[in-house]
């Protein structure tokens, strides 16, 4: 559905995107993850045709964005980073205008409108001026605008920004419900968003792709070490000291709730040795369990590795 080939983007002599390539299959939900200024918005703008790439090519549904922008624009719904809004129009007038410029067939308009109003929870503000809505409702209106033409490809730049917790949950389940029917690319710098909605993640940092995988794959691939969490009844400091003397232990860190985190290489299993140390000390082993790395940690690790590699 989307093919991004070696795209780079330069602003005033500064390259903010370098050699970005990836593809998105039909019906897939792709998460675009990266810290502020990583180049997420720029990449999305290039895919929509709003910005031309400095080098490289982008194809959507087989059409080149630069050569055939109109065919691409017919197929996409785009939620920009800041909600595009005509303050003077009512929600209804606004959405009707969007349907007109998106070339939604006249006979489908009524149905599309009521569907999107329902989907995005806009019933209560239907007749109000967009300029008078709260930030969260404007975001919903903007989301409605992206969905209204029932596009094959949805590009959502930080879809849940400005929403409250309940709305965030609603929008995420809305996005999940699009799976299979629409292809979705969404960007975020909040990790739970990716875990909650996406099939696949691309992590971008400093304008370069640093990782691309399924959620599980990413977690597994980027876990060079294992961690176990231990709880003991007594002698916590002594236990820490003894465990760190074990061969191949990478780190021993006291963590919250009186627990201890022990890290060792992925290829080994030190649980038995650890248990033996504790029993020998008579420290009273209460708990010993493996900790899986959260995506948050994976992300931080990747991004910092990238920085370190550069320096």
């Amino acid at each position: 559905m989307v093919e991004v080939q070696e795209v780079g983007k330069e602003f005033h002599g500064r390259w903010v995107l370098r050699d970005v390539s990836f593809t998105v299959k039909e019906g897939e939900i792709l998460g675009f993850l990266g810290p502020n200024g990583a180049g997420k918005t720029t990449t999305m703008r290039i895919i929509t045709g709003y910005l031309p790439p400095s080098v490289g090519r982008v194809k959507v549904a087989g059409y080149d964005v630069t050569e055939n922008p109109l065919e691409v624009k017919k197929r996409i719904g785009y939620l920009p980073e800041s909600p595009p809004i005509y303050r003077e129009l009512t929600v209804k007038e606004y959405l009707k205008f969007v349907m007109e410029i998106k070339d939604v067939p006249r006979r489908e308009r009524k149905e599309r409108l009521s569907e999107v109003i329902e989907y995005c929870g806009l019933k209560d503000v239907y007749g109000r001026l967009v300029g008078n809505l709260s930030r969260g409702y404007r975001q919903r209106v903007a989301l409605a605008q992206a969905l209204i033409s029932n596009p094959d490809l949805l590009i959502l730049d930080e879809p849940t920004s400005g929403l409250d917790a309940v709305q965030i949950a609603e929008v995420r389940s809305l996005i999940r419900s699009l799976k299979g029917k629409h292809t979705v690319i969404l960007s975020t710098h909040i990790l739970p968003e990716v875990t909650a909605t996406c099939d696949r993640v691309i992590i971008i940092s400093n304008g370069k792709i640093v990782a691309e995988d399924t959620l599980e794959g990413l977690e597994a691939r980027l876990r060079p070490s294992k961690k176990v969490e231990i709880k003991v009844a007594r002698y916590r400091d002594k236990v820490c000291e003894e465990i760190s003397k074990l061969p191949s232990v990478i780190s021993v860190v006291p963590s919250r709730n009186d627990a201890i985190l022990v890290e060792y290489p992925q290829s080994l299993d030190l649980r038995e040795d650890i248990a033996r140390v504790i029993v020998n000390l008579g420290a009273g082993l209460l708990e010993l369990k493996p900790v899986s790395m959260t995506l948050e940690e994976v992300f931080l690790q990747l991004v910092t590795e990238e920085e370190a590699g550069k320096a």
Partner: protein, 253 residues
């Protein structure tokens, strides 16, 4: 065409909801009305003193009226057109427009027609003058038609110039200054032509052709010259074309 119409309707709706449009059009009509009353009073004075024989009343009253309207467009056009593109920029809707299947040409046309439509409404309101005068006596209809054609054609060129100025910048204030300067320039080419013409006849000749003052005056005096019609239509087309180019190129900046 449907897209142009959608854009036109949206922009027109926003104009009709904006206090700014009412204020500027209101001020425009007041000034034009005041100047008209002045010349009417002067006319009455003349007639009572010398009698009305051999004297084209329509021309006496309407020549200054047409010229005033066209000159005052220097103020009306920047205010009405300055918001066109900068406003889309400020509200983030440019991103919506440029990622929708509507072309730059359609966007420009829709916006131009909407601002021009406000001008048409203004001209329609000004029709109260000939309508009330008809009751007072015979009018030279030919001169009226020619004057209105002049206001329509020159107005179109001025509004296109305003739209072009707005397409060059992201800020309303800059847009209004640029279109003000552009219109001032169009009016004063005339002056430059007569000043430079003595020393540089070739340059003077070119400028003379570009000057709008004489062309506008011809319409106001009752002469519809095809060359003048073509001139203003071309000027409109050129400015609209430049606006489309400027929109298309701004993403490359």
């Amino acid at each position: 065409m449907r897209m142009i119409l959608s854009m036109f309707r949206k922009d027109l709706k926003i104009y009709l909801l904006s206090p700014l449009a009412y204020t500027i059009v209101g001020a425009f009509l007041l000034i034009v009305g005041y100047l008209y009353i002045n010349s009417l009073a002067y006319y009455i004075l003349q007639v009572s003193r010398w009698g009305g024989y051999g004297f084209n009343a329509t021309k006496f009253l309407f020549y200054p009226l047409f010229q005033n309207v066209l000159f005052l467009l220097i103020f009306l056009v920047p205010v009405l057109t300055m918001r066109t593109f900068p406003e889309e920029e400020a509200s983030g809707t440019f991103e919506l427009l440029l990622t929708s299947p509507i072309t730059e040409f359609q966007i420009v046309m829709g916006k131009f027609l909407a601002s021009y439509f406000i001008y048409l409404i203004t001209l329609a309101i000004l029709l109260y003058i000939p309508i009330t005068l008809r009751k007072a006596g015979e009018l030279d209809i030919g001169l009226l038609i020619s004057g209105y054609v002049g206001m329509l054609l020159a107005g179109a060129a001025f509004f296109a110039a305003g739209v072009f100025a707005a397409s060059l910048t992201r800020r309303q204030a800059t847009a209004s200054m640029v279109s003000f300067a552009l219109l001032l320039l169009l009016w004063f080419i005339n002056w430059a032509a007569s000043n430079l013409g003595t020393d540089y006849p070739v340059l003077g000749g070119i400028l003379w052709r570009l000057a709008i003052f004489n062309r506008v005056r011809a319409f106001s005096e009752g002469v519809i010259d095809l060359r003048n019609v073509i001139f203003f239509v071309s000027l409109t087309v050129i400015f609209l074309y430049l606006s489309v180019m400027s929109l298309a190129s701004r993403r490359w900046k």
